[in-house]
Amino acid sequence: MDDQDHDSVYDGLLGGDDSQWAFGTSFEDPLAGVDTTVPDGVDRTALAAYCLMLGDDALVASHRLSQWCSRAPDLEDDIALANIALDLLGQARLLLARAAAADPAVVPALPEGSPVPPEDALAFFRDQDAFRNVRLVEQVNGDFAATVVRLLVLATWRLALMQRLATSRDPVLSAIAAKAVKEITYHRDYAGRWVVTLAQGTAESRRRVQAGLATVWPLRWELDRDHAVEAELAEVGVGVRPSSVAAEVDVLLDQVLGVADLERPDVKPIGAHGGLTGRDGRHTEQLGLVLAELQSVARVHPQGRW
């Protein structure tokens, strides 16, 4: 293989060609060639909002998991959490691209000539109140035990939801979901095994996993609640009502707690705030801190160059 087969990695930094350094080195559309026609009888604004909900859950959870990179208890788990974060980032990218294709009006306007693709504009240029993720995913990681408890809750819920979404009347959502099921199966097993291992480990590891449960459990309420957008999309055969997976999620979490010999925490749920939840863009302070880290470089350089 001769050297001319490879472009220099510095080309993008030096400018002068059509590739850019920021936002990846090439701007291929993750849905290139995919038919993104909105199915009959489906409101495109609602479909875009729904895709943002599932996409923002993945994006913010991915960012929090990526904060473990180089800080996990051992190398294997460092790599595992980074891999799980990468899977979720891939799901986020497809879902945000699907949101943009369904309703281009959700994509923030950028300066003329900006090469930022729609899914990146959604990730990096929306303000906190336009994010529709559940508040569960934006909270600080806490220790490793709290992180695996939260991952267990998120993966169990998301897997149950994606299994049903795989039969969505929107072929794009259905394909994204079918793929996600394969990936999240590994995430759920990973988190469940660690919860059991920590619960059966030392008194200290058990104390930490119990503390993690107490922190995460109140945030489950929002996962099970049907938002108006979710209900509307379920009605037309495109989305899934979270309430329809709540019982299954409960049983699965009980199975893990049973094997781990842990009690369900007796804690009060964190409900809506002024009638609004994360799905409406009402977040905790933590999301602002996540977005400051996630978005600051992109916002300073909206042309993708410096």
Binding site: S26, A32, A82, N83, D87, R93, L94, K182, V256
Partner: protein, 168 residues
């Protein structure tokens, strides 16, 4: 669409596309990996369809660029399209691909799981043979390895660590 110089196109687009290798597993062609789903040729114009292995696989951009460049070098005006359905499965890795993985010290995947998704709280059990020494005494180190598609194993006989391509 511009016509390619005559004589440049000595191989069909399918032959050219089928020779492009995976950027992270260069012993495998994209065809053997099962990522290359279709090549439609209409004169000099070619539409290549690929299916991502994992949603977040960072190699997808490199795969697309390699396909475009290689086909371009052979006189084709190529376009790469993504097909998300059906989702990629490790079952699509060809017999030749599996043999190539093993030759290069990577354990190929077993059959992908099918049917209902079950919660598994015990370490995954697979019949994995060490690609270095052939021993069947192998142990899982981690379900997540050097890339999204691989788990990390260790051989209890030759003690070498090795990658195993996961079943999905």
């Amino acid at each position: 669409m511009t016509a390619a110089p005559a004589g440049h196109r000595q191989s069909t687009a399918l032959e050219v596309a089928s020779r492009v290798v995976d950027p992270e597993l260069p012993m495998l062609t994209l065809a053997d990996l099962g990522v290359l789903r279709g090549v439609e040729q209409d004169g000099a114009h070619v539409v290549v369809t690929i299916t991502p292995t994992y949603s977040g696989c960072p190699a997808m951009a490199a795969m697309r660029d390699d396909l475009l460049r290689t086909l371009g070098e052979h006189g084709y005006d190529a376009e790469v399209r993504v097909s998300l359905h059906p989702a990629w499965t490790s079952d699509w890795i060809s017999a030749r691909g599996r043999a190539a993985l093993r030759r290069h010290g990577i354990s190929p995947p077993g059959p992908a799981p099918s049917g209902p998704v079950t919660l598994s709280l015990l370490p995954t059990r697979r019949d994995v043979t060490c690609p270095q020494c052939g021993s069947g005494r192998t142990e899982l180190t981690s379900e997540f390895g050097s890339t999204a598609c691989k788990a990390l194993y260790r051989c209890a006989d030759c003690l070498e660590p090795f990658d195993h391509v996961k079943e999905i």
